[in-house]
């Protein structure tokens, strides 16, 4: 890619950060496709474990897709700040005049575009594998689209807390998985709200959207506080 001659100062700091994270994420060697493959493997494993009962499989497909989506989203999320911490660029981000909260929000956005978005996009295909009723395909996709950002944002708090730990992956999962329960509950409820369901789609879906919005406000502040105190 050739960069046009001129003043790099015109790039806004957050746009530059977004571009850098997307570039590193893409060049790391199939980061996105690997997440999808992991998602596929989890879904397949569940299908094998449950057996050939298609009616049962179709009934619990939203839950399987959501748990697989949750695990795939959190996979690699513990490295969100760790990579920057190890190469020293986190120190430099801390001396930037751009608020750390915004920096974290942009990093989460870049991470979600590389992991959560492709996940939601491929979920209907994997739904077919699980005998998910056609009427529920779109509700699963929409619920993952609205719900995975909250998982990424919540994960950012754990990533910030475990940033300086070499083997923080397990601690990260223990810290973050309980916090994902609300999103999981309303995500699965929204995903399973097809024509045959008693619950209308909108009720759990709107709560899921609210959870994502709350995470969008709380998580950057919490993660920033954790990172600022990380030097102690």
């Amino acid at each position: 890619m050739t960069t046009p001659k001129g003043t790099p100062k015109e790039t806004s700091p957050l746009a530059a950060l977004f571009l850098r994270d997307i570039r590193t994420g893409r060049r790391i060697g199939g980061g996105t496709s690997l997440g999808i493959v992991f998602f596929l493997i989890l879904v397949t494993l569940c299908a094998f474990a449950i057996g050939p009962d298609l009616r049962l499989l179709g009934k619990i497909a939203p839950a399987i897709l959501w748990i697989s989506g949750l695990l795939s989203t959190l996979l690699g999320l513990d490295r969100l700040f760790q990579a920057d911490h190890e190469d020293g660029s986190l120190d430099l981000l801390l001396t930037s005049s751009t608020p750390l909260e915004l920096i974290i929000l942009v990093k989460c956005l870049a991470h979600w575009i590389l992991t959560g978005l492709p996940l939601a996009a491929t979920a209907p295909i994997f739904g077919l594998m699980l005998n998910l009723p056609l009427s529920e395909l779109w509700s699963v996709t929409l619920s993952l689209l609205a719900g995975t950002p909250s998982l990424t944002l919540t994960g950012a708090i754990g990533a910030a807390l475990t940033v300086s730990l070499r083997r923080g992956g397990l601690l990260f999962a223990v810290l973050i998985l309980p916090l994902c329960v609300p999103s999981l509950i309303f995500g699965v409820a929204a995903a399973g709200a097809g024509e045959a369901s008693l619950v209308p789609f909108a009720t759990p879906f709107l709560i899921l959207c609210a959870l994502t919005l709350i995470a969008g406000v709380v998580a950057p502040v919490a993660a920033a506080a954790a990172l600022r105190n990380g030097g102690r």
Binding site: P8, K9, P13, R20, R23, L92
Partner: protein, 214 residues
């Protein structure tokens, strides 16, 4: 040497003042009750044996470590801006190996900018003799070249205070001379430098000798 007195003399030059700094790591005071004042155009060379707290002091000045006591102030600006007026070049170069030299530097030029301008990325790289490597991924560079890319940040974004932790590490003789020239130029433009070093820096200024604690 009160900052107010400095300002009263009508000079708008900057002064970095640290008073009664105490910095603790893991409950143990590494730096205790340290005070210094550094005027624009001066270099403070931090010397002392390993573990004396040179890096700790630099990280604290960059706002990366909390102060147990004391204050750091940059007159005429207020206290809270010190880290944002400072370039920190630590042991880690802060570069992404997968990105090219130019991409790395353009990122820093955007994110570290504080509205004081700076050289275009291409010129900054040229000044450090890296023009030929601009399109290479950083992972392919040698340790000394990576160091020079990190130092090119100092030129790509203008900030008055330079906090350099062992800036000469991994640099060859020619690059050391080059860095000396760049630092001298920064000082003549009214900049401030705090550098931890074992090798002597031939620059105008003071030396602060830290002793190993306990």
């Amino acid at each position: 040497m009160k900052p107010a007195a400095m300002l009263a003399r009508g000079s708008i030059t900057m002064q970095l003042c640290a008073s009664n700094l105490t910095i603790a790591r893991g409950g143990r005071a590494i730096i205790a009750n340290l005070s210094f004042a550094l005027c624009a155009g001066e270099c403070l060379a931090l010397t002392g044996p390993n573990g004396a707290g040179k890096s700790t002091l630099l990280r604290a000045l960059a706002g990366l470590l909390p102060l147990a006591a004391g204050t750091i102030s940059l007159s005429p600006l207020s206290e809270e801006f010190v880290p944002q007026q400072a370039h920190y070049v630590g042991h880690a170069d802060g570069l992404k190996g997968l990105l090219t030299v130019t991409e790395n530097l353009e990122f820093f030029a955007a994110i570290l900018d504080v509205g004081m301008g700076g050289l275009p990325v291409k010129t900054a790289l040229g000044k450090l003799g890296l023009a030929h490597a601009a399109k290479l991924p950083v992972a392919y560079l040698s340790a000394g070249q990576k160091r020079r890319v990190a130092l090119a940040r100092l030129l790509a974004v203008r900030r008055p205070i330079w906090l350099l932790d062992e800036p000469l590490t991994a640099l060859d003789t020619a690059s050391r001379v080059l860095l000396g020239q760049i630092m001298t130029e920064h000082l003549t433009q009214g900049g401030l430098i705090v550098a931890a070093t074992h090798a002597g820096l031939d620059l105008k200024g003071q030396e602060l000798r830290l002793r190993a604690a306990g």
